[in-house]
Amino acid sequence: MSTADANIVKLADLPKPQDFRLSDTERKDILHEISQYPEARAASIEALKIAQRRLGWVPDAAIAEVAPLLGISTAELDGVATFYNLIYRQPVGRHVITLCDSVSCYLTGYEQTRDALIETLGIQLGQTTPDGRFTLLPICCLGACDHGPVLMIGEDTHLDVTPDTVPAMLEAYE
């Protein structure tokens, strides 16, 4: 089976964004987060992260599911969701690459790393590869400036990333 076929199967398993319903586990996890605060809405960001786990992004239907748990309107929750850059309100790839473009990485050559990523992936910043594998985004300082250029792929932090190390690094992400 080619990689492309594998991807089709995976995508078919996922619910349609408009049919998104919280699972029992997701609902339970959100209620647990809410229990840590005197006001439910304080768990907004954690709740959005939980809602984002399955698809990698937060569709409208998820906002509508989560907002009542937090006791706020869908508009208020969407206001929160669209403010923070790690909450995605449109589809992203299976792996989101966040590339630091702040001053220390600028001075240590992040632009060369960025260009290597753009060339290897065939997409610009803000775009997703046609096979849905990677989304490439800029991000502000990742707090590892002694090892610039720095980027994250999902929850993994990669240090001292140069054009030479880009291809091998990407291979680890199916």
Partner: protein
């Protein structure tokens, strides 16, 4: 300096950190003196006395502003008439470009921060503590949560701690990006599940903060110092600066950019930029130091001639900049000054929360002018316009310190390197300007 030279008395913040940065568990942390400060407090030091010791220690806020910690705490209502709910919040949203110190403390010494949160919470009579951690610090979140669970198990978090009658709970709250969350009132809005717009001050958080309750927000490094002050005393803490500064304690200093061995080190506060550069092995071959930011993107550039200025709040202030986070970023002679400024101002423009007009509209305008100058397409009057920005986007004209912070590297760059700005004005136009 090797790890073995470090002791709790010389390097309180980092002595427990192994070279591989693997964190100590509760037993390991206790075996190197951990939780001594907390036990001492619970054995019968009154909250007011904890506050007094921190004040006497001359500990100043390590997040960047340098406000004396004990004084900050003293505005919190105490005693029987005080509100029953108060909060201690740790600002662990480390996102100031060029800064990588709190990551080390949280990943490699999580129990130290947990102990600091409990002792600081005790000092202000807080009922709950929240560590507001940036979402990208995945490993720090894991280590802190594990440390909190261990501390709770050991009876350091919970009800009637040490028989004192004081109850305290502690949580990790992770963010989802945005630099503005580091502004303390924006952080409180974010923690409450709102957009991270700053709040009007007054009222200050110590009086009306999280959910309208008295709240203290302190930086990670600040809070990590607190248990050591209690364990070893204010006199000892003041002496850690070894006469290099009137401020007390050690400081995590570091450097990034084109240096041989970028890194972070715990040194007496008041150590100099030159000492830090030497620890980093100096500039890489073929690169000369042109200028440096002493403590993050929102601090004014300094020059090589400032390398012997003590890196403390007062001295760096007198030299025309701010200590900020104390992590230097070096600008080398091969880098483009205007390119660096474009990079810095794009960052600030992108991270503006959009709440007030000078910041929301002024920062992108600043970027546009700098980009024109960078490619030699500047127009006569551009430099004067940038200078006007450094006044129009300054304190008092904006809602918070975000835009003023953005103006600091810009105003100092114009002051030190004006010819490079002038060279960016279109050739034909510079004649007109001269006339």
């Amino acid at each position: 300096m090797s790890a073995t030279d470090k002791t709790a008395l010389t390097h309180p913040l980092t002595h427990s950190i192994a070279p591989d940065r693997k964190p100590l568990d509760l037993a390991g942390y206790q075996s190197v003196g951990g939780y001594t400060g907390l036990k001492k407090v619970l054995a019968g030091i009154a909250p007011a006395d904890v506050q007094a010791q921190v004040k006497d220690a001359n500990l100043r806020g390590r997040g960047g502003a340098g406000f004396p910690t004990g004084v900050k705490w003293s505005f919190v209502p105490m005693g029987e008439d005080a509100p029953p709910l108060k909060y201690i919040v740790c600002n662990a949203d480390e996102m100031e470009p060029g800064t990588f110190k709190d990551r080390l403390l949280m990943e490699a010494a999580p129990h130290q921060l947990v102990e600091g949160m409990i002792v600081s919470g005790y000092a202000i009579g807080a009922s709950t503590g929240y560590i507001f951690l940036r979402g990208e610090y995945v490993l720090a979140a894991k280590h802190l949560r594990a440390a909190i669970a261990e501390a709770r198990q050991a009876g350091f978090i919970g009800k009637d701690l040490g028989g004192s009658g004081w109850n305290f709970d502690l949580h990790v709250h992770t963010g989802a990006g945005r630099y503005i969350c580091g502004e303390e009132t924006a952080l409180l809005n974010s923690l409450e599940g709102r957009r991270a717009n700053p709040r009007a001050k007054p009222p200050f958080p110590q009086v009306a903060g999280l959910w309208g309750r008295p709240t203290v927000v302190n930086n990670v490094e600040t809070i990590c110092n607190v248990p050591h002050i209690i364990a070893h005393g204010a006199d000892w803490f003041r002496g850690l600066s070894q006469g290099k500064s009137e401020d007390g304690g050690t400081k995590l200093y570091g450097v990034s950019g084109k240096v041989r061995r970028p890194g972070v080190w715990e040194l007496p506060i008041g150590s100099t930029g030159r000492e830090i550069l030497e620890l980093a092995g100096g500039m890489k071959d073929g690169f000369e130091l042109k200028a440096w930011l002493p403590g993050g993107a929102s601090t004014d550039f300094l020059l090589p001639e400032h390398l012997d200025v003590p890196m403390d709040y007062g001295s760096i202030g007198k030299a025309g900049s701010r200590l900020g986070t104390g992590l230097m970023t070096v600008l080398d002679d091969k880098a483009s000054l205007l390119g660096t400024l474009v990079n810095l101002e794009i960052f600030f423009a992108r991270e503006s929360c959009g709440w007030c007009t000078p910041c929301r509209d002024g920062l992108p305008w600043t970027v546009k002018i700098l980009q024109a100058l960078e490619c030699g397409e500047g127009e006569p009057g551009d430099i004067e316009q940038l200078e006007a920005m450094t006044s129009d986007l300054w304190m008092g004209k904006t809602f918070c310190a975000h835009a003023p912070g953005a103006m600091e590297p810009l105003q100092s760059a114009i002051k030190f390197f004006r010819p490079e700005f002038e060279a960016g004005i279109r050739a034909g136009d510079s004649d007109v300007r001269a006339a």
